[in-house]
C-alpha cells in the first residue's frame, strides 16, 4: 500500500478538478463564482489563475442557461464540469438535466450521447435554513439516463470526478458542504475510483447499515459505539445512487439478516425507500427483522441549530435504532 497523506475533503475535490483540467484540454469548469471568487466554498480557489478564463469560467446567475450550455458543449466535443453552486438551486436547471441530458441519447435512438458532469454541493449543517439546506439526491436518483454519485469519502472526493469524466453519459455528483473541512488520510497516489459499485466501509455480521453521503460518517461512528456494546455492524456506502448496486447491499443483508437504512434526505420516497423495497423483493426470506429507515424529518430545514440537528438522523439515533432492531 502506498504512502498516506492527510487531506481535507475540499482539497481532495480540488485535486480531482485540477487533475482533470491538467490532463484533458477538453475539460473546463464552469459555474457561478468558480473563478474570481474562488468558488463559493473555496473548492476551486486558484484554478482560474492556474488555468485561465477559458478553462475556469465564471457564469452569471442563470442555472438553466449555463447547465444547458454545458450540456450543449458536451454534445459538441467538450468535457464540461458544470458546477451548480449548491443543489438548492438545482431545480432551476432540472428540466435541462432531465429532459435534455438524461433523454437525448434515448430520443435520438442512441446517436447522441451527453458526456457532461454536473457537480452540486448539498446537505445540511451550516444553519442555512429552509431554502439552502436541501438533500435532493432522491429527486435526481429517480431519473433514468443519469448516473448519480454521492461523494461520501475523501478517496471518492479525489477520484470520482476522473471516472465521471470518462463516462459517456451525464453524471451528477453530490458533494457535501458540511464535510469540506473534514480531514482524512488517503493514499498519496489516490486517483480514479470506480463509479458503479457500492462499498462495504466496515464489515460486520449483526446488521447492515446502508447509507451514503454524510450518513457514512455518522454510521461509522455509530458502528464504533455499537461495537462497544458488542454489536458488530456492517456499514455500506451506496456511493452510486443510480443505477443502484443492489448486489452489494443484498449480499450484506443476506449475511446479517437485518438492515437499518440511514439518509439525510426527507424521509419519504427517498433512496432508503428504494433500498427497503428491493430488500423486501429480493431478500425477504433472509430477514430476521423488518428493515428500518432513519431519514430526514419531513420539514423544510429550520434555522436554529437545535432544530436543524433534530431534523436529520444523528449518531445516537443510529445507535438507538440498531439496538432496537437487535434487542427489541
Amino acid at each position: 500500500m502506498s504512502e498516506m497523506i492527510k487531506i481535507t475533503y475540499r482539497e481532495a475535490l480540488k485535486a480531482g478538478i485540477r487533475e482533470a483540467l491538467t490532463n484533458d484540454e477538453r475539460v473546463f469548469l464552469m459555474g457561478e463564482d468558480v473563478g474570481r471568487y474562488g468558488g463559493a466554498f473555496a473548492v476551486s480557489k486558484g484554478l482560474l489563475q492556474e488555468f485561465g478564463e477559458d478553462r475556469v469560467m465564471d457564469v452569471p446567475l442563470s442555472e438553466s442557461g449555463f447547465v444547458g450550455a454545458g450540456i450543449g458543449a458536451s454534445l459538441a466535443g467538450m468535457k464540461p464540469i458544470v458546477e451548480v453552486m449548491t443543489v438548492n438551486f438545482g431545480l432551476l436547471p432540472m428540466d435541462q438535466i432531465v429532459n435534455n441530458a438524461a433523454t437525448m441519447l434515448h430520443m435520438s435512438g442512441g446517436q447522441i450521447n451527453v458526456p457532461v458532469v454536473i457537480r452540486m454541493s448539498c446537505g445540511i449543517g451550516k444553519q442555512l435554513a429552509a431554502q439552502h439546506s436541501h438533500s435532493w439526491e432522491p429527486l435526481f436518483a429517480h431519473i433514468p439516463g443519469l448516473v448519480v454519485l454521492s461523494v461520501g469519502t475523501h478517496e471518492d472526493a479525489r477520484g470520482m470526478l476522473h471516472t465521471a469524466l470518462e463516462h459517456p453519459d451525464p453524471v451528477i455528483i453530490f458533494e457535501y458542504t458540511s464535510m469540506l473541512n473534514r480531514e482524512a488520510e488517503i493514499p498519496a497516489d489516490a486517483g480514479p475510483m470506480d463509479i458503479s459499485l457500492a462499498k462495504v466501509r466496515r464489515e460486520g455480521k449483526d446488521i447492515s447499515i446502508i447509507t451514503y453521503g454524510i450518513g457514512v460518517h455518522k454510521s461509522m461512528e455509530a458502528a464504533e459505539k455499537l461495537a462497544e456494546q458488542g454489536i458488530d455492524a456492517e456499514v455500506i456506502d451506496l456511493r452510486v445512487l443510480r443505477p443502484l448496486d443492489e448486489k452489494c447491499f443484498l449480499e450484506s443483508v443476506v449475511k446479517t439478516h437485518r438492515a437499518l437504512l440511514v439518509e439525510e434526505a426527507w424521509g419519504s420516497i427517498n433512496v432508503s425507500s428504494e433500498v427497503s423495497a428491493r430488500i423486501m423483493e429480493k431478500a425477504f426470506f433472509d430477514l430476521d427483522a423488518p428493515v428500518k429507515r432513519l431519514g430526514g424529518v419531513e420539514v423544510p430545514i429550520p434555522y436554529p441549530l437545535h432544530l436543524e440537528n433534530a431534523s436529520v438522523p444523528q449518531v445516537d439515533d443510529i445507535v438507538n435504532a440498531v439496538i432496537k432492531i437487535l434487542r427489541p
Binding site: 457564469v59 442557461g65 447547465v67 450543449g72 464540461p80 428540466d95 435512438g109 447522441i112 439516463g145
Partner: protein, 328 residues
C-alpha cells in the same frame, strides 16, 4: 418580391424543389396521420417553408442545427433522408432516430442535425453551449437554433442570449414568429412585440425579415450567417411568418379567424417564389412539371421505405438509456 441578382437557375430550381418537398411531405404526413400510420403529436410547418429553406441553404455541412418539434422541414432542408424521416414518424427502427423519437424528435448526428426538441425553449441554452464548444475547439463552424416567438417568453431565451453575448460565441438564433404559440397570439405572449428589439437587451445584433419571401430570408440569413461566422458573435434573426395549419393535429383553431388565415395564404411562399422564377425565366412550366413528378416519386419512396420498415423488438426496450447498453 424584389429582384435579386445572382440566383443561378439550378439553385433556384433546387430551392423551389426543396420548398415543394417540405409542403408535399407534410401534406402526405397529415394524410398518414388520419390513417393512423403516424401518431403522437404532429406539428406541420406548412406556410413557413421559406424560413427553414432560406436559412439552412446558407449553412455549411459542419454547422450545427437545432430545431423544435416543428422540424420536418428543417430536417429535409438539412438533407436528412425523407425516407428516414417518414420511417421515424412511423416509429420504425429504420427512422432517423430509430423510431424512438417520432415526429418531434428527429435527429441525425452525421448531418449535424440536433433535433427535434419538444420542451419549448429548452434547446436554446444547448445551442449557446454548442457554439461555445465550437469556439473553444476552434472548429470554425456555427450553430443555428430555430424557435418560435412563444419560446422567446421563456426564461431560457433570456439566459441563453445573455450567455451567448457574454461569451461571444457563433450562434444564430432564428425566431420563427408565426404569430401564435398554440392558441396564444403574439400580443398575449409578449408585452413588447417587436421581437428583434429584444436583441438590444443583450447587446446582440438583430434584424427582422419577411419570412414569407424566400429571397428576403436568404438575403437576411446570408448577412446574419456571414456576420456570425466572421465575428464569432451571436445574432438574432426574427422571421415573420404564419402557419397555415393548426398547431398540431389536436387543434380546433378556435383562436383565430378563417379569414385571417386566408389573408396570409395569399402570401404563400411557394407560389410566390414559383411565380418569381417563371417571371424571371429562371424556370419554365415544363421543368416544374418534371419537378412535380420527381417529388411524387421521392415522397412515395419515403412512404414505401417507412412501410417496409421494421419494429424494434420489445426486448430492446431498455436500450439507449445508457451508452453502454446501446450497442445496436
Amino acid at each position: 418580391m424584389e429582384n435579386q441578382k445572382n440566383i443561378e437557375p439550378q439553385k433556384a430550381a433546387d430551392l423551389l424543389y426543396q420548398m415543394l418537398l417540405m409542403r408535399k411531405f407534410e401534406e402526405k404526413s397529415a394524410e398518414l396521420y388520419t390513417k393512423e400510420k403516424i401518431r403522437g403529436f404532429l406539428h406541420l410547418y406548412i406556410g413557413e417553408e421559406a424560413v427553414a429553406t432560406g436559412v439552412i441553404q446558407t449553412l455549411k455541412p459542419e454547422d450545427y442545427i437545432l430545431g423544435t418539434y416543428r422540424e420536418h422541414a428543417h430536417a429535409l432542408a438539412r438533407g436528412v433522408d425523407a425516407g428516414a424521416i417518414m420511417a421515424e414518424m412511423y416509429g420504425k427502427q429504420e427512422g432517423c432516430s430509430r423510431g424512438r423519437g417520432g415526429s418531434m424528435h428527429l435527429f441525425d448526428k452525421e448531418k449535424n442535425f440536433f433535433g427535434g426538441n419538444a420542451i419549448v425553449s429548452g434547446h436554446l441554452p444547448m445551442a449557446t453551449g454548442m457554439a461555445l464548444a465550437s469556439k473553444k475547439l476552434k472548429k470554425g463552424n456555427i450553430t443555428v437554433c430555430f424557435f418560435g416567438e412563444g419560446a422567446a417568453a421563456e426564461g431560457e431565451f433570456h439566459e441563453a442570449l445573455n450567455l451567448a453575448s457574454l461569451w461571444k460565441v457563433p450562434v444564430l438564433f432564428v425566431c420563427e414568429n408565426n404569430l401564435y404559440a398554440m392558441g396564444t397570439a403574439l400580443r398575449y405572449s409578449h408585452s413588447m412585440q417587436e421581437l428583434e428589439k429584444k436583441g438590444q437587451a443583450y447587446g446582440i445584433e438583430s434584424a427582422a425579415v419577411d419570412g414569407m419571401d424566400l429571397l428576403r430570408v436568404m438575403e437576411a440569413a446570408t448577412k446574419a450567417v456571414d456576420l456570425v461566422r466572421s465575428t464569432g458573435n451571436p445574432y438574432l434573426l426574427v422571421c415573420n411568418t404564419y402557419r397555415f395549419r393548426a398547431h398540431s393535429m389536436f387543434d380546433a383553431e378556435l383562436y383565430r379567424d378563417k379569414a385571417e388565415v386566408e389573408e396570409w395564404k395569399k402570401r404563400d411562399p411557394i407560389p410566390q417564389f414559383r411565380e418569381y422564377l417563371l417571371k424571371e425565366n429562371l424556370i419554365n412550366e415544363e421543368q416544374i412539371g418534371e419537378m412535380e413528378e420527381r417529388l411524387k416519386q421521392e415522397i412515395q419512396k419515403a412512404v414505401d421505405f417507412a412501410e417496409a420498415g421494421t419494429w424494434e423488438p420489445e426486448e430492446d426496450l431498455g436500450k439507449f438509456v445508457y451508452t453502454q447498453n446501446s450497442a445496436s
